[in-house]
Amino acid sequence: MTRPGPAGVGPKAKPSIAGQQLERILYILPAASRDGGIALKRLAKDLDVTEDTLLNDLAQVLSRSFYHPADTGSEIQVAVERGRVSVFTTGEFRRPACLSLEEALCLAIALRQRRVEGRGRMPFLQGNRVGDDGGDPGPVDLLSRLEGALVRPEAYSALEKLELQDLRPDPLGVRETLAQCIAARYKVTLTYLKPESQSSPESRRVRPYALAHAEGRWYLLAHCEKARAVRVFRLDRVLAAVPSHRRFRRPRDFQPEEHLRGGRIYVVGEVCHVRVWYSPKIAPWIVEREEGQLDFDGGVTVHWRVVDPGWLVRHVLQYGPEAEVLSPPEAREWVKDTLKKILEAEGRPWPPPRERDRPQGAGIPTTGKEG
């Protein structure tokens, strides 16, 4: 007996039109064969196609009856009425097809991202469960059981070649805890370390609304009871998240996407308009990010709307001598004050002698030896 081979595990070039249609039909038939059928609109949304496309798909199924001899089996009747599709079948296609290799690979990736390793422990709101190693047992059970039932072994070879670092579990399990609290609508008490704060972390009780990912970082969008408004919390500054069992209602008009602009988290506050110059060494990188244009000297000047002075200082300093705040004067003072603190703490002379030429630094952050 020959079992079907992997036939290329992992992503392929885009499936053919016929292949895409077959995939849709293999989902439509079981979905519409349940009691009451399914709304065409809902199906179109689920499958991310137009209703016309669905009707075309259904026509493929319907017209089989014209050429099917009566004894071939698998009689399928399709009815579309008042925006709902119903399918009656005495034979096959009343269940979805099993996961394809690509789908199985996605499930394996999704499950492994949820595992909290080492000291991480995810408090389950439906009841605490701890694995033998003290870690979170849920995903381990999931890995062995759901994967065993749904994931084909061939999918695992592709797992090693896709590394989603930004989705790896939070070392403390904070993100996973917040996700559960968001789903269960439970208030949470955060131990939060404010940027620029020299004092101890503060406690904030919040109603978690959504998680957001931008510029390589995770954020929590939540209603802060202290501020009485929606606030954005950087997860790397959340030292702990303790769920309460007090529920809340999320406003229906809350749209997490409104807190993202131009690939970044959008923070509300008093704005300072700041100009920052980036040297020719890094300007191409800045330009591709900010979609700007190079200056005549090869550098680039970007206009920022800054709410948090601390953010500006950290942003500029991460480029070393390749970035300089041009204006306003108070923004330059923010950076200078920080540098003074660094140099004077070590008894280094200030002000340093002004160098004639703008210095050329060694380079920019990379993720390894860049090509």
């Binding site: 020959t2 036939a7 290329g8 992503p11 070039a13 053919s16 016929a18 077959l22 039909i25 989902y27 017209s63 014209f66 050429y67 269940r95 099993c98 690509e102 789908e103 499930l107 999704a110 499950l111 389950f124 439906q126 059981r145 039932a149 592709a158 090693e160 070649k161 896709l162 590394e163 989603l164 917040l178 789903a183 269960a184 620029e196 510029e215 390589g216 790397d236 807190h259 993202l260 131009g262 591709e288 300093l317 991460q318 001598p321 705040v325 041009l326 004067p329 330059r332 003072e333 950076v335 200078k336 280094r348 002000p351 340093p352 002004r354 380079g363 990379t366 993720t367 030896k369 090509g371």
Partner: protein
Amino acid sequence: MPDRITKVQRWLDLIAYLVGRRLPVSVEELMERIPGYARDWVEGDERTRASVRRKFERDKDELRAFGIPLETVRYRVGALQEEVEGYRIQRKDFYLPYLRLLGRTQPALASVVFQEPVQVHPDEAFSAVEGLRALSRVPAFPLAAAARSALRKITFDLDPEAVGQAPVVFAVSPESRRAAEYTRILADAIQRRKRAFFTYHGIRRGTPTSRRVQPWGLLFQHSHWYLVAWDEDREAERVFRVDRMEGLRIHEQEPHTPDFPPGPENVMARYRDRKPWELGDADEAVTARVHFSFPTSLWAERNGFGRLVEDLGEGGTVREFLVRQVDPFLRWVLSLAGDAEILSPTALREAFFTMARQVASLYPETAGGQEHD
């Protein structure tokens, strides 16, 4: 009777016929019984029949590529126990197992269940559903469509309302829009081990260069997609940011034959949980000690930066780092705005203050704080 039976109709007929059979089916029977083949098979000449047979072979290969578990089976028939070849699709392999959510009232199982139901704890279901949902939203994720369809199938039995939903949004940067087309092509090339060619706009060089690589893996880090590959011309492992590629094409001759042997085992693990300064040659590594003042020390501990070596009291800590790339490390410490101080080695500490002075020289003391042009 329609003039033409479409490919999709033929596929549906073939699947329905095989799934509905307990025993393997010979190819002759398929040719005679599946309308999409029968018309030409029964009435056609030898040449036509050969063409129909080839059509079946193509259908079989395409369905298998989609993941339809269409098996070729050898079995014995007749009094003489003649061995013949046939085909089958077993229901237990074709259909999704029924997922039963523990602790929830669910409708009675329909008569369409062909395997033991899989019992799923609610938080396990949550992990699967939310994990897939997040995955489907990762910008330029090459398997986003598969993640969405996996989510549809998983939630076919599991009511999403019962499982719970935790909205996750991903910021889509201009770069990730550019990467979207290429990540899928590269993911396919990685799986088939096909050589890739592209023009690369590396930041350091400034001028674009032509590259010929063996793609090994894809990495999503800091909201960017990177290709880890063996650069054949430079004979070295390299990391390329996908949105800096142009004119990407894959070697498509002999599409089912790999162009190169498998890459090193677990190559992507080298990039897991690694900071920019940790990447590079082990021989060139420097061990640095950094003092973090309170409360930044809490942040460093929370995020696992370096290794704790000393608790200094009053909340400050000393942490140790293995630094393979000095420049990104110095700039990272500088961006902590005075809340971290390099203690050792001396050379690294001096390099840090040199950098700080270089930056400070851009902000000389002036009378009255003037704007800089």
